[in-house]
């Protein structure tokens, strides 16, 4: 009910309209949704989490546990908004939550089924029975019954911003104490003042952030805050981001976050129109309204006269034994047993300082028996606390809690005094256990209005003072934060960079289907004329085996290793030797971890006496460079070697297949391409379309192969020149899927597919790579450990079978065995014959060649023949061609 007195925050000269559960209502600019509802005489705004109890507005601020509503519609809907913090605007649409079929007639409350479902520790008790009872009965029932507002299903259409700020002094809280501290700090550099509210007037020289909540305090004075930039404006007037996340580093932090007056505990203390006393006063002073005409005041009646002056009847009682009413309080029974008719109750428990930010970063608390609250322990190395949050609160001894039905301690999670008592009887005597068992203080309000009463009750049950049981840990966020604000710009395509090769647009033009390899987009296959993946891959594989194919291999990691000690350095980094590799030649290398396990593989080329180019797997490029830098800087800083990533400087096209040389002869100048002059595992410099290129004879397909590397800037004309030259040979662009089939037939391993950090070179049949003559290299000592000598290590083998087997399928010796001997790492149809084949890691695998195993996947078992892993051209005649 609006009255003539008070109303510092509202503009009575203007009327705006909003809707609540479909009803159109009026309010004033400056109102919160809560004050506007109260001004319209609406106290019932929601149903409680578990018991579907009618709930109203308990507070006037950030601590509100009850009045949670959904603001906005469709994808813009914001569930669980505290009505006390929602600024009213013209056209605002709000809906109540957790009520069915309607707020006034809620079936969950009528049947009372909920109160039998949810006693303290209900997760551990109610849901006994078979797992079918859970999925068939309890879970659907609970999902229906318990909860907050539903999240929108569409993507959030709003924009959010994220900024970093630095200052000498950060003051949190724009009340009198905070404003004074901000002004005082002006002489010591930049000052930022954060205030949750809207009314804080500007201060000269202070950067003021209104409508901003500091929700987290972290190590080294980092404070995270969210600014509600546009939430208070009608949608048509919003400009810029909806909210802005502030990450503020301060030299000093001053907390002036105030205190929260606590509720009293008595039966039915959760009825609508039973409110915190200070909130009743705020509604009068700031919003010019009385929360009732006939108000009972309990605990403290300091403001009784002010309420009377505004026109209310005020009944002062020392204690309440119980409240009565259905959807709004109608009367109370006082401590002497006298019944008082009323339409509102203002209760004054003690004041608990808002110590959340102090506590989040490890600040300690102690119990102040005089003020009956937890106060911060002063620690000069931490944030300074001033005003009410430092413990400067009224000495208000709250009246003792009264047990009985529906005496609520935690309003948002529906935890009663009886739940606390039951938990104590059941032995949950640590405050941390009490919290988890009853869920008190674990709701989105973080126990701002429940922790003190819960701890007080636990201590009472144990016969001690609240200080003896301590408090639970406060964790960020102080109030709920939208995921949108936390993510800000880091969403959709901006969540991670996308890397594309210089030929990317060409691939798109050809209708390539892409796959993500790390951050790279790589063509997986190039479908033609409605081909599915299998048909396209078959065509691409056959082209490489019978004619010629071309692959964009630009994503290959490339590290330039140079300096007088480059060869010595690679000798330590790789398992194989590099000193004797002549300039102009290449070598396949395997890199191990210090534990002897395969870490990466690839070819390196000697470009000059003191320069190598090292190729890494696409996904491992950054890790390999980090690994090299780590060892160079921390173990072998005396080696004169410099490492540079040149991955994106060089584009690469693989021309491969029996006709590869014929294609290159059409376009390459300055190079003798004959096998005698340019053998396998060597490189030459030449020209294509006038541009310098490096040709490497490296094969990942088992066929005659030339990798054409060029300056990325000229990659597109060179790529097109290769395709034009190859046209009459039927050159076929192929993707990573065909590449995988072709390499698997040769048992060329993929790091991360055939390896998982537990696979040593010999397990992969790569003992031939490992140098016997080098005194040391990373992993060498570990290869001599007994564990790596065991004959029953898992070894790479091939499998053939009559049907396809899933990658990851487990392998056993007999069809009904349960002893797993290994697993399938790669599985494809053969490149030409399309017969299913697979690679697998199998215990003592090489000894099992010629025997059979059973693969288990998707509920079936399939007999597999164990073979040598090299299925294609084991002598390597073709790649030497």
């Amino acid at each position: 009910m609006r009255v003539a007195l008070g109303g510092t925050r509202i503009d009575r000269s203007r009327t705006i309209h909003f809707r609540f559960d479909g009803r159109t209502l009026a309010g004033h600019p400056g109102d919160t949704l809560a004050s506007a509802l109260l001004a319209n005489g609406i106290h019932l705004v929601g149903r409680s989490f578990k018991y579907h109890r009618p709930r109203g507005i308990l507070s006037a601020g950030a601590e509100e546990p009850n009045a949670l509503v959904t603001i906005g519609e469709g994808a813009f809907a914001e569930p669980n908004s505290r009505a006390t913090m929602v600024e009213l605007y013209d056209g605002l649409v709000a809906r109540s939550q957790n009520a069915w079929p309607s707020l006034g007639h809620d079936l969950g409350a009528v049947t009372g089924i909920a109160s039998r479902l949810f006693p303290a520790g209900f997760y551990y008790k109610t849901f006994l029975g078979s797992s079918r009872t859970w999925t068939g009965l309890y879970e659907p029932l609970i999902r229906r019954m318990a909860g907050l507002g539903p999240a929108p299903t569409a993507a959030d259409p709003d924009a959010y911003d994220k900024v970093h700020a630095h200052c000498e002094t950060l003051v949190v809280g724009g009340g009198a104490a905070g404003r004074a501290a901000a002004l005082e700090a002006l002489g010591q550099g930049r000052v930022i003042l954060i205030d949750e509210g809207v009314a804080t007037p500007p201060l000269d020289g202070v950067r003021l952030l209104n409508r901003t909540t500091a929700f987290g305090c972290y190590d080294d004075n980092l404070v995270m805050a969210v600014e509600r930039v546009n939430d208070h404006l009608p949608p048509g007037e919003r400009r810029g981001p909806r909210q802005r996340l502030w990450q503020i580093r301060a030299k000093r932090i001053v907390l002036a976050t105030g205190a929260h007056q606590q509720p009293l505990v008595f039966p039915n203390n959760d009825l609508p129109a039973i409110m915190i006393a200070s909130a009743g006063l705020t509604y009068l002073r700031d919003f010019g309204l009385l929360v009732g005409r006939r108000i009972v005041m309990v605990g403290s009646s300091d403001a009784a006269d002010e309420l009377r002056a505004a026109g209310a009847q005020v009944i002062e009682v020392a204690a309440i034994a119980a409240a009565h009413g259905r959807k709004r309080v109608a009367s109370v029974t006082d401590g002497q047993g006298t019944r008082h008719r009323c339409d509102a109750v203002l209760m004054a428990g003690g004041w608990q300082p808002a110590v959340h930010l102090h506590s989040q970063i490890g600040g300690r608390l102690s119990f102040d028996p005089a003020r009956h609250c937890f106060v911060p322990v002063v620690d000069p190395s931490r944030a300074r606390l001033i005003g009410a949050c430092a413990g400067d609160v009224p000495v208000d001894r709250p009246s003792a809690p009264v047990a009985g039905p529906n005496a609520f301690v935690d309003f948002q999670n529906d935890v009663t005094l009886a739940d606390i008592d039951l938990a104590t009887r059941e032995g949950f005597v640590s405050v941390e256990h009490l919290k988890r068992y009853t869920t008190t203080g674990m709701a989105t309000d973080q126990g701002k209005l429940s922790n003190l009463n819960a701890i007080t009750r636990l201590a009472h049950n144990l016969g001690g003072a609240p200080g003896s049981v301590g408090t639970t840990t406060f964790r960020p966020p102080y109030t709920p934060v939208t995921f949108g604000a936390l993510a800000a710009h880091d969403r959709d395509q901006f969540i991670d960079p996308t890397r594309t090769t210089p030929m990317h647009d060409w691939h798109v033009g050809q209708g390539a289907v892409f796959e993500d390899v790390g951050q790279w987009k790589r063509p997986r296959y190039f479908p033609r004329d409605g081909e599915d993946m299998r048909a396209a891959v078959r065509r691409e594989c056959r082209a490489v085996r019978r004619g010629v194919g071309v692959l964009d291999a630009s994503t290959l990691g490339k590290i330039d290793v140079r300096g007088p000690d480059a060869a010595s350095f690679l000798n330590l980094i790789y398992a194989n030797g590099w000193s004797k590799l002549p300039v102009g030649r290449c070598r396949y290398g395997v890199m191990l971890g210090e534990d002897g396990m395969v870490f990466d593989d690839g070819v390196s080329a000697r470009i000059a006496e003191h320069q190598f180019l090292t190729f890494t797997t696409t996904g491992n490029a950054a890790r390999v460079l980090d690994h090299m830098e780590d060892y160079h800087q921390t173990e072998w800083p005396h080696l004169k070697v410099w490492l540079n990533s040149v991955t994106e400087h060089w584009a690469a096209a693989v021309v491969t297949g029996p006709l590869a040389r014929d294609v290159l002869r059409e376009v390459v100048s300055d190079v003798d391409l004959s096998a005698a002059a340019f053998p396998h595992l060597s490189w030459r410099e030449g020209r294509i379309a006038g541009h310098k290129v490096r040709l490497y004879r490296i094969s990942f397909t088992g066929e005659l192969s030339f990798e054409v590397h060029c300056d990325s800037r000229f990659a597109r004309p060179i790529w097109e020149a290769l395709l034009a030259a190859g046209e009459r040979f039927g050159i076929t662009p192929y993707g990573t899927e065909a590449m995988h089939v072709l390499r698997a037939e040769k048992a060329y391993v993929i790091i991360g597919q055939e390896t998982d950090g537990t696979v040593a070179p010999d397990d992969l049949g790569l003992s031939w790579v490992v140098s016997k003559s080098k005194p040391d290299f990373i992993g060498k000592r570990s290869l001599a450990r007994p564990e790596l000598q065991r004959p029953d290590r898992k070894q790479l083998v091939g499998l053939t079978m009559d049907a396809f087997v899933d990658e990851g399928a487990q392998l056993t010796a007999g069809a009904a065995d349960t002893v797993m001997l290994g697993h399938v790492t790669s599985s494809y149809p053969g490149a030409v014959d399309e017969k299913p084949f697979a690679l697998a890691l199998v215990t003592g695998g090489r000894q099992r060649i010629g025997t059979s195993l059973y693969a288990h996947f998707g509920g079936r078992s399939l007999r597999c023949n164990v073979t040598d892993p090299v299925f294609y051209d084991p002598e390597g005649v073709r790649l030497h061609g």
């Binding site: 080294d220 980092l222 580093r249 060498k780």
Partner: protein, 80 residues
Amino acid sequence: MLTIVCPHCGARDQTEFRAGGEADRPRPADPFALTDAEWADFLFMRGNVMGLQRELWVHAAGCGKWFSLTRDTRTHRFAP
């Protein structure tokens, strides 16, 4: 989130750095001079100190340099 002082770049947010574990445990000059047990100890065992610990960090999203510093594992405070 900690503020870490890179000796080359100055104070930066922790997100720019990667931790490299305990410092001052160099790779043995001759790994084969160690028994299997000693080598396994070097490979797998760490002090897991409660208190002041020398540790390696790399300014991964900055200058790329490795350096060591002393951190109190109980408080995350870096010793000067």
